[in-house]
């Protein structure tokens, strides 16, 4: 556990807490609370050979794949839903065999995290049999229930080296406040060897207590304050999903060549302050207007 009273670090130090080759859990899901500033910073630092794990993800995984940072991908889904469809870089890498796809299922990942949390070396899952998932996971086994005689698939613990989480609010000790859905973040925090977090804003502990702490400080190794640190994913209650910025990525991702230009322009040639500048403060502020009216909110997605 992490007992330091002050866990604040800068983003570069935070991203440096991930080593090449680590098993990395990615917090949030789809277009919500993705640890994008950490993703971008790891790309700047040239991180390699990551084994990423998680549930349903999108830009975070696709951008890491595009940057050549991922060797093994063990997510339950990577894509942009019906809106932008398949994940371009992920798809290219999977189809050309440059990453190993160990696609999993939310329940299986949850169960493996629970095994790590509970300190047991295996746990059973009800499904999997009859599907082709074991072709991707020869490490699973089967056991016969001593009570019912049923044969169930059993899975080993999943103990990520580090969980990268983004929260709208945190304090200097590393307590984090999130809004639901927490997705797997609570389980990542307990199962991983350490949590490295970004928060849009560091506030007094009292403010977090008022709202309710989601992830307690003793699980968190470092916390970096990065405004719009999840952008273009959402970080409610502060800002909504930036559909337009995501669309810009998708358009650039048509070829690896144009994607490299995108990464150079938006990531490698700048830092997070520069990233925010280039996105434009008016554009970013617009994402915070979701709460003004239903029309304003809906307008963000039109």
């Amino acid at each position: 556990m992490f007992l330091d009273p002050d866990k604040r670090v800068d983003l570069s130090t935070a991203a440096g807490m991930v080593a090449d080759g680590d098993v990395v859990a990615l917090g949030g899901g789809l277009s919500a609370r993705l640890p994008m500033a950490l993703i971008r910073e790891m790309i700047r630092q040239g991180r390699r050979n990551l084994h990423v794990v998680g549930s349903a993800h999108s830009l975070d995984v696709d951008m890491l794949v595009a940057a050549g940072a991922i060797t093994v991908c063990e997510e339950s889904y990577v894509g942009f839903e019906q809106d932008f469809g398949l994940a371009p870089a992920y798809r290219r890498a999977a189809e050309s065999g440059t990453i190993q796809v160990k696609e999993s299922c939310c329940v299986t990942i949850l169960t493996q995290l629970r095994a790590a949390e509970m300190g047991v070396p295996f746990l059973p899952v009800r499904g999997i049999k009859g599907t082709d998932m074991r072709r991707l996971h020869p490490e699973y086994a089967e056991m016969t229930c001593p009570f019912t005689g049923e044969v169930l698939v059993v899975v080993p613990p999943l103990r990520p080296d580090v969980a990268l989480l983004h929260a709208p609010l945190g304090d200097t000790r590393g307590n984090l406040y999130m809004e639901q859905p927490y997705v797997l973040d609570e389980h990542f925090a307990s199962a991983a060897r350490s949590v490295v977090a970004t928060v849009d804003k560091i506030v007094a502990t009292e403010e977090l207590v008022e709202r309710g702490i989601t992830i307690p400080a003793h699980l968190v190794r470092g916390v970096a304050e990065v405004p719009f640190g999840a952008h273009p994913a959402s970080s409610y209650p502060h800002y909504a999903y930036d559909r337009s910025a995501t669309g810009a990525y998708i358009r650039a991702a048509g070829t690896q060549e144009s994607l490299e230009s995108y990464l150079d322009e938006w990531v490698r040639s700048t830092d997070e302050a520069g990233y925010r500048d280039r996105q434009g403060s008016a554009e970013l502020e617009r994402l915070t207007t979701w709460s003004e009216s239903v029309d304003a909110w809906k307008g963000l997605f039109a």
Binding site: Y77, G79, E81, D83, L86, C106, T108, G127, Q180, H187
Partner: protein
């Protein structure tokens, strides 16, 4: 007054829900998502609607956004489940119905959302199954759907990869696998509606009025039975159409359809 295939389609999906069912859709499934809200606003007011990816219970979203993890989808919900709370409920059999789609769907209702072609070098790497794989075994009944039937590549004789299980898999049927869930009950496509016969094979029950049995057959890679009372899909009621338009003002449901399909327009019959 006219309406379009996407509207009618989600109404048909909505009708697969019975009142007082506990129903879930996955992410990236706007047609199923809109259908659930239509059902709750029309014939199934006492269903328990679990909003996919938010796990919010009976929300009243002001609109359907183009992404499933947006906070608009939990507006009005008194309670949102935690991730594990939903998946545990589904695993222990407390969820009555789930909507599932697939890049490939075989005659038994097995679905593939993982990869088309060989696994080590897929022709198309699909997005992945999310949480469907395990809970397809245990949820009460499944409503399958696809808006890509006409492509001829979706309803296939055999899936290249089984992500979510139907009635019968190469490893055995549900009973042999020890699964409590009832499996696919309906398969709704932009051409017609299937149910499943006693052997677990899809059976054509209804078609849209602008579709012929030949259209269906030429687009379907598996052999299927045809119900003796093969009929036409019941048109949407004004209340159903109004519900579709109210819940999905951005038309997110349309993103599931090929642009050509969206040209299919129908007239409200005057009685």
């Amino acid at each position: 007054m006219t309406y379009t295939i996407d509207e009618w389609f989600v109404v048909a999906l909505a009708r697969t829900i019975r009142d007082r069912e506990v129903v879930f859709h996955g992410f990236g499934s706007p047609c199923a998502q809109v259908a659930m809200h239509v059902a709750r606003r029309t014939h199934a007011p006492d269903m328990l609607l679990i909003e996919g990816a938010m796990y919010a219970i009976n929300p009243d979203p002001p609109f359907i956004p183009p992404t499933s993890n947006d906070n608009s989808l939990k507006q009005g919900a008194a309670y949102s489940m935690r991730f594990e709370e939903f998946f545990d409920a589904a695993s222990r059999g407390d969820v009555d119905r789930m909507f599932l789609s697939g890049g490939q769907i075989d005659g038994y209702g097995n679905t593939n959302v993982t990869a088309v072609g060989p696994l080590d070098r897929p022709k198309v790497k699909l997005g992945g199954g999310g949480g469907g794989c395990n809970i397809s075994a245990t949820i009460g009944q499944l409503t399958l759907w696809t808006t890509r039937h006409r492509s001829g590549r979706t309803l296939v004789s055999s899936c290249d990869f089984i992500t979510d299980i139907g009635h019968v898999t190469p490893a055995g049927d549900r009973k042999a696998l020890g699964y409590s869930g009832g499996g696919p009950q309906w398969l709704v496509t932009e051409l017609g509606i299937f149910d499943y016969d006693g052997s677990g094979i899809a059976r054509l029950r209804e078609m849209w009025p602008d579709v012929t049995e030949d259209d269906v057959r030429s687009s379907t890679g598996f052999e299927f039975e045809v119900a003796s009372d093969l009929g036409t899909v019941e048109p949407p009621s004004p209340a159903e159409l109004a519900a579709v338009r109210a819940i999905d003002p951005l038309g997110v449901r349309r993103s599931e359809f090929d642009p050509g399909e969206l040209q299919r327009t129908f007239e409200v019959a005057l009685h």
